[in-house]
């Protein structure tokens, strides 16, 4: 579904990602793991259209999306739950969700079904639906960020460090939800530092080091790979 071909991204003169090839097939959950500064978030931002690529191509279903603006890409079905949640603090939980329907919702169309689906997935959000975004806890904010991305009716869901800054139990809870979303058939590309969690939900994974893919394979393979175990799993 998504293919990055020989993608190079630079911030000014600093090359952050170089020559990356990455494929995500329909229905797959793919993890992108690596240390701080490996270029994971940069890559995800570029897929969303927030960064420009220096060379290479990004294709969605075989057509290049490199020249499209972010909102066009969302309309084509790429939604992202960004790193650090970035929910809208001045909007209520429900407004945070509804605002993300901008790309498909027509004036008189209802998004009640979409809301219900998100509330079913994250019942805690339903309890808090009239509360302002900033008053949520970190875990709830993460759920809201994922819920907001789902409201855009994506075909490809990008998750950037959904476990960031969460207590281990909460992080696990979030990943349990990710598993539910994946089993419903949505294609997911998840960026994660917490390798254990990421490899537990992913079908396949790529390991990114200093802007290059150094390893890729099925999640089971990587879990048992000695390099991954040493560098990222700590055993």
């Amino acid at each position: 579904m998504l293919a990055c071909n020989n993608l190079t991204i630079a911030h000014g003169d600093v090359v952050a990602v170089s020559g990356v090839n990455l494929q995500v097939g329909a229905g797959e959950t793919v993890a992108l793991i690596g240390a701080n500064g490996a270029g994971k978030t940069t890559l995800l931002h570029t897929i969303s259209g927030l960064n420009k690529a220096r060379s290479g191509d990004i294709q969605l279903d075989g057509t290049s999306i490199l020249r499209l603006s972010s909102d066009r890409r969302v309309a084509l079905g790429i939604a992202q739950a960004p790193e650090g949640r970035r929910i809208f603090p001045g909007l209520t939980v429900e407004e945070n969700l509804v605002v993300a329907t901008a790309n498909w919702k027509k004036i008189r169309q209802s998004c009640a079904d979409d809301l219900d689906r998100v509330f079913q997935l994250f019942p805690r959000l339903k309890e808090r639906r009239t509360q302002l975004g900033w008053s949520l806890s970190g875990g709830e904010q993460q759920m809201l960020a994922i819920g907001r991305a789902l409201m855009a009716r994506p075909r490809l869901l990008l998750l950037d460090e959904p476990s960031l800054g969460l207590a281990p139990r909460l992080a696990e809870e979030v990943y349990e939800r990710v598993k539910v979303i994946a089993s419903a058939g949505l294609t997911i590309l998840v960026v994660e530092q917490n390798t254990v969690l990421a490899l537990a939900v992913a079908d396949r994974a790529y390991v990114l080091e200093a802007g290059r893919v150094v390893l890729d394979g099925s999640a089971a393979e990587l879990r048992n790979d000695s390099r991954v175990r040493e560098a990222y799993l700590g055993r």
């Binding site: 909102d71 969302v74 939604a79 960004p82 929910i87 809208f88 603090p89 409201m151």
Partner: protein, 324 residues
């Protein structure tokens, strides 16, 4: 529910203004009129600054553009004020879109400085384009609005026109605030990057918010022109832009009630403190400082003292303070 409350607010404005129009002396009526006109401009600024988060120090330029278009088309072309006003509002909004395309690429301080530059340029053009604007002599004898041959020229009847306009503006602003566009505007203020990621065309929205804000300013400018009946470039200098911003921040940014309270207070305050002479500015500075320190959400933040936060849902209360 909130929308009903805004209609309630609109009714309150009309009722309070109606009572005041009967009891106040002429001089205070004039001040009240000026404050109502300022309120309309500040509610407009609230759209750009309070909702979208665009720091504009050039709001007076849009007020001035509206006022000048109104003044020129009524005095030169003999257009009825009723026709000149919508034309002025539309032209100013169109100008805001045109200038917004390059301007709104800037952010934060840069945008503030650029809008300030816009305001200064406006005054320079208005002062020097003699054939069109009359230069620093300004334009006099701008006609009043009239209804059924009754000219709305005295302070009392103008107050009614101003109040009806304010009511209209409040209702439209509230509808905007609670529409999908309003939510999208606020999302851009809160987090532009996240707004982009969720599929919002942030550039288009910013320009739209800016144009809306300018249209409000132009509307206020038209009312100002027909109220004072004489305009000159000084009426729209950048000092007025800063004053509008002060009104909004003192009243409570992001809220319509705050915009009105701030405008009324900062119009009357200099008059009440006239006996202080030049020391007024020092006191004004101190007052603004105190408001910002003790009431960071503006005068509307005083509500928490009136109601008293309940322990049960303090978070909900606190939330209401940030954006009622």
């Amino acid at each position: 529910m909130r929308i009903l409350r805004s209609f309630g607010l609109a009714l309150c404005i009309l009722a309070a203004g109606g009572v005041l129009s009967l009891v106040l002396p002429e001089y205070h009526l004039r001040l009240l009129n000026l404050s109502v006109v300022a309120s309309i401009a500040v509610i407009g600024l609230n759209i750009a600054f309070g909702y979208v988060g665009l720091i504009s120090l050039g709001h007076a330029a849009f007020v001035g553009l509206g006022a000048y278009i109104m003044a020129i088309s009524t005095t030169r072309l003999g257009l009825s004020p009723w026709l000149a006003m919508p034309a002025a509002v539309a032209a100013t909004a169109a100008f805001a879109v045109a200038i917004g395309l390059p301007l709104l690429r800037l952010k934060g301080h840069y945008l503030a400085l650029a809008t300030l530059g816009l305001n200064v340029s406006f005054v320079i053009v208005a002062s020097n384009w003699l054939e069109m604007t009359g230069g620093t002599n300004g334009i006099a004898q701008i006609p009043s609005f009239s209804i059924l041959h009754h000219a709305i020229s005295d302070e009392r009847s103008f107050l009614w026109l101003a109040l009806v306009s304010l009511t209209l503006v409040v209702v439209v602003a509230t509808l905007l605030h609670h529409s999908r566009y309003g939510r999208a505007l606020i999302s851009v203020r809160d987090d532009e990057l996240a707004a982009e990621m969720t599929g919002i065309d942030t550039t288009r929205l910013k320009i739209m918010g800016f144009a809306f804000s300018a249209a409000y300013a132009a509307f206020a400018g038209c009312l100002f022109a027909s109220h004072v009946r004489f305009i000159s470039p000084e009426d729209f200098s950048y000092a007025h832009s800063i004053n509008y911003l002060a009104m909004l921040i003192v009243g409570g940014e992001g809220t319509i009630v705050g915009a009105i309270l701030g405008s009324v207070l900062l119009t009357f305050l200099p008059e009440w403190l006239r006996f202080l002479g030049n020391a007024y500015l020092a006191l004004f500075g101190l007052l603004v400082f105190l408001v910002l320190v003790f009431l960071p959400t503006g005068i509307v933040g005083l509500r928490k003292f009136v109601r008293g936060p309940s322990r049960v849902d303090r978070s909900v209360q606190a939330a209401a303070e940030v954006r009622p």
